[in-house]
């Protein structure tokens, strides 16, 4: 009974977060000598299927018509069915909103225990333990899951990918499930902010703006700056709560947890709430008018100046240096 299920929602392809989940599953399977199953729910994505099938021992998809688009109750029901058949020791999810919504409820239905936003997986004899960041990133807790299966969702980018070897690919089993209709909740409308861009969680470089920007307009500059660096734009909670940018841009304990190679904080003071979202950033740089701003305590480098003066010059210099 040491099967592992990685549970993926199709729709974002074989992105960095998915690669991390697959990598974590593979390494855990080697460690506990278990069989690695992958469950892919949602619209049929042959590219994703084949990548996953080159790593996992078995792949099963749930892509029939009713499941093409996410519906909370229906997807939970089918994932529960599949997991009951496999009876895994561990189920791994990514950290997207569908995964976070599904994982605890799945754990409850399987009589297991869940833990979220995991940074590290450990086995200690038969016990499954995880490390997670708590108290807004100020502490790291080790949690032991006391029930089986352990249902875990993993922080994007905290886990390394593994190589996919397309020369050896297992069969993908596409099965139809007998679904009881459940119309207690029904998604009736969807909107994506039109960005072809990668998810914030996957970004290599992030330029982020805070309360000190004073309004929505400066975000245009930050977007241009991000574009020069091939990065993404984000914001602090204060900026999002003020309506200066969409909630999906929010980074922090109450927003997204990101792990870019470089995080440039513009007019962000760096309250612990915000720092909790960037504790995995490899490098942090800041532009702030106040040299006492807590953000500088975690910075690799910084500039103490008014961002209004810095940004136009910085764009110019970066564009020149990039050539």
């Amino acid at each position: 009974m040491s099967d592992i299920v990685i549970c993926l929602f199709s729709g974002s392809g074989y992105n960095r977060a998915t690669q991390g989940v697959v990598g974590a599953g593979k390494r855990l399977a080697n460690q506990i000598n278990g069989r690695l199953h992958a469950l892919i729910a949602g619209a049929h994505d042959p590219e994703l299927n084949i990548r996953v099938a080159s790593v996992a021992d078995a792949v099963v998809t749930a892509d029939q018509r009713e499941l093409i688009r996410y519906q909370p109750e229906l997807h939970l029901n089918v994932i529960t069915q599949i997991c009951r058949d496999i009876a895994p020791r561990v189920v791994l999810f990514g950290s997207d909103t569908y995964s976070q919504e599904t994982a605890p409820r799945l754990a409850h239905r399987l009589g297991g225990a869940a833990a979220g936003d995991c940074l590290e997986l450990m086995t200690d004899g038969a016990a499954i333990r995880v490390k997670r960041s708590v108290y807004g990133g100020k502490a790291i807790a080790t949690i032991e899951l006391k029930r089986s299966p352990a249902v875990l969702w993993l922080r994007a980018r905290a886990f390394e990918p593994v190589d996919t070897n397309l020369a050896s690919v297992t069969t993908v089993r596409r099965t139809r499930y007998d679904l009881q209709p459940d119309d207690r909740t029904q998604i009736i409308e969807r909107k994506s902010e039109a960005t072809g861009a990668a998810r914030l969680e996957d970004a290599r470089v992030i330029v982020s703006g805070g309360r000190g920007l004073g309004g929505p307009e400066p975000f245009k500059d930050l977007q241009e700056l991000a574009a020069i660096l091939g990065g993404q734009t984000a914001a602090s909670r204060a900026a999002c709560d003020s309506g200066w940018c969409p909630p999906s841009w929010q980074v922090g304990q109450t927003g997204k947890k990101v792990a870019p190679g470089l995080y440039i904080a513009v007019a962000i003071r760096g309250a612990s709430q915000h720092m909790a979202g960037i504790s995995d950033a490899k490098n942090i740089a800041a532009i702030n008018i106040d040299n006492d701003a807590p953000i500088f305590k975690n910075c690799r480098f910084g500039i103490v100046e008014d961002y209004r003066k810095v940004i136009p010059l910085l764009k110019e210099k970066l564009a020149a240096l990039q050539k």
Binding site: Q100, P104, A113, Y135, K138, T142, S192, P294, E305, V310
Partner: protein
């Protein structure tokens, strides 16, 4: 519509890192001089409930499971104009596991009586477990929608809007329903009026013991049958910030740009 808003009292998450200590024996943050506050997402949930009541009517009960001192969180909820408040007194483990919390809340909700909508914050600012809503929905046998930032009445159900990675989804939902609430620009918690704060001090709060709500009190008090914290440490970070220097703004920005390029090339 009977609305129950679950609230959690936590250690102020805004205390600076330099004042933060852990009690490695108890595997808890040391209280120190930090205040206890209501978790922000719980207040976003209460604010969303208040706005729904203003539009469509209903009755809001604030519910918490915590130490006696969590009464402060309920007083604030009453000052924000919740209709009633219930405290299930936790005299056991200071942070019981997520299933123990969900079972306690579920039992309290059943004792309160009929409910149409249960609202929670999407996660707490202390342990950030982010499971109470989902587990509570399972305990109550109700559907669950998470990351919700807007709710409106529609016929005999609701239309709820939830945030996704890069946008939003709207759902038709039948009652009863459990939702977890995230923040947006429209559910910033209101500041209670002084008069309402004074009035809230005199309002009754229902207090129940674990025995009175009919849960397995011994298991809830132990609070570690689902998961257990086996270690809690403060990570050591050693970063010193290089403040770029230069005689002119231009020189400083030039140096800043060079550092950015150095790092991005190495990525």
């Amino acid at each position: 519509m009977n609305i129950i808003v679950c609230l959690k009292q936590i250690l102020d998450p805004e205390i600076p890192a330099r004042d933060f200590r852990v009690d490695s024996e108890k595997k808890e943050a040391a209280r120190g001089s930090a205040n206890l506050v209501t978790n922000i997402f719980c207040e976003n949930a209460l604010e969303t409930a208040l706005q729904l009541r203003e539009k469509s009517g209903g009755r809001i009960t604030a519910l918490t499971f915590g130490a006696e001192v969590a009464e402060d969180t309920l007083r604030k909820a009453l000052a924000m104009k919740a209709d009633a408040a219930t405290l299930v007194v936790n005299d056991g483990h200071p942070h019981p596991d997520p299933l123990a919390v969900a079972q306690t809340l579920a039992a309290a909700i059943r004792k309160i009586g009929a409910f149409d909508l249960v609202m929670l914050g999407r996660e707490s600012g202390d342990w950030g477990v982010a499971q109470t809503g989902g587990l509570l929905a399972e305990e109550l046998g109700a559907p669950c929608v998470s990351f919700v930032d807007h709710i409106e009445a529609s016929g005999d159900g609701l239309i709820v809007k939830r945030q996704t990675e890069n946008g939003w989804e709207k759902l038709n939902a039948k009652l009863p329903l459990v939702v977890t609430i995230t923040n947006n620009e429209f559910n910033v918690p209101r500041i209670p009026k002084t008069r309402d704060i004074m009035m809230s001090a005199r309002q009754p709060i229902t207090k129940w013991t674990l025995e009175e709500i009919g849960v397995n009190a011994a298991e809830i008090r132990a609070g570690g049958s689902y998961s257990e914290v086996v270690d809690l440490t403060v990570p050591v970070k050693e970063v010193t910030c290089e403040f770029v220097s230069g005689d002119t703004l231009e020189q400083k920005v030039e140096r800043f740009a060079e550092r950015i390029i150095e790092i991005t090339r190495a990525l």
